[in-house]
Symmetry: C2
DNA sequence: CCACTCCTTCTACAAATGTAGAAAGCGATA
DNA sequence: TATCGCTTTCTACATTTGTAGAAGGAGTGG
């Protein structure tokens, strides 16, 4: 059954992509990273294109599973969401973000590499998965909180949260912000996210 | 005088980087893109590393010049900034962002490619330039507006604005948002940026 | 035991790439 | 004009990479 082998190869490819960049993603590098004999990747993914597509699909799957497991806490998208909940929701989101730059760092890096690649290879845009699910959730939540234009606000909100993520992953925040994986980082992210939630929900600020 | 030739090559390299990605950035590809005889890039940048470094420096320079030319309007960082100004400031920022995804798209794409590359090649992190200058400006502005933690808020603000940028460049916003270069896009960005400014300045929202 | 089928591993090879050095052009100065 | 120093162009070559196919097992049914 080649399915575990395929998964091993694809995961190795994600690591290679994260650590060596799109340029370093070669059949042989994946073999080495997976600890499998040379030629293995080439046998399973006859062309480089199929290898990249496999990576994209796996990333999409992982993200889907991740978001599924990390539903916002009960009621976050119900009309009864109040100001107190917002801090809780923000903390949850911050926890996810922090994991994405610490534990799941490689996956996140690989995703950004693929997003950039999708710019000149439109067929890769399956990676919408992440963005789309988040957007729906954001839209529902903001609508429930009484935002005036939940669709637009949701899009802006998700884009901004992704900005916080990328900043800590590859931007200046990677140097200036508290180290990934620490409570301080989660706290810092949580205040930012809370500010965003309040702002895009259209309710007053609580001070930062 | 090789300086214009160097500039031509580096600019061509930026275009190649934007259009073909890090993988497509080869000496020969740059030659072709610049319309110069094969071997030219190899003569000026003996190794690929120097070529990339040249690209990074050029991007940093261009960004510096851009930010210099696009200082926030008079008084934006003076204590007298009021709520009315915020919309004007937001519109200005939105205009810059819109240009970065329409006219200057290649430059922006190349910058993100380099940022990702800097993740595994720390010596490339000269690209701070953009982030740092923006951060300083943001911090000053927020401090003047009376934000409680201007440093932290400034960092968050810049990260979020970059998130809006990346979203339209390579994220879902590239498909869902109004087309780059249009007034509609600038307007959409402006409302998002205004919301952010108000939120991180700690002043009440005006509704989105 | 054999034949057949799959999965795995190895090998081959053309194309592309990084890099260095040779050749060629060209302006200035004696 | 001959020579020198420079920039530009061309050529060569070892590596790396993508891709295909051959060789080698290992299990299964006859």
């Amino acid at each position: 059954m080649p399915t575990d082998r395929l998964a091993a190869l694809t995961d190795a490819a994600i690591d290679v992509l994260a650590e060596l960049g799109m340029r370093g993603l070669t059949h042989r590098a994946v073999d080495a990273r997976a600890g499998l004999p040379q030629g293995t990747t080439s046998a399973y993914f006859r062309t480089r294109k199929t290898l990249i597509e496999a990576v994209v699909h796996r990333l999409a799957d992982l993200d889907r599973a991740d978001l599924q497991a990390n539903r916002l806490p009960a009621g976050a998208d119900s009309p009864a969401v109040g100001m107190d909940d917002i801090d809780a929701v923000a903390a949850d989101i911050a926890a996810v973000l922090d994991r994405w730059i610490s534990t799941a760092r490689n996956r996140t890096l690989a995703r950004y590499a693929c997003l950039l690649e999708a710019t000149h290879h439109p067929e890769l845009q399956t990676i919408l998965a992440h963005g789309d699910a988040s957007r729906t959730q954001a839209r529902l939540m903001l609508a429930a909180a009484g935002a005036r234009h939940p669709e637009q606000a949701g899009n802006h909100l998700v884009a901004c949260i992704d900005g916080l993520l990328f900043d800590r992953l590859a931007g200046a925040g990677a140097r200036t912000a508290p180290p990934a994986g620490t409570a301080a980082n989660r706290a810092d992210l949580a205040t930012a996210v809370a500010t965003l939630l309040r702002a895009f929900a259209g309710t007053g600020p609580k001070g930062q």
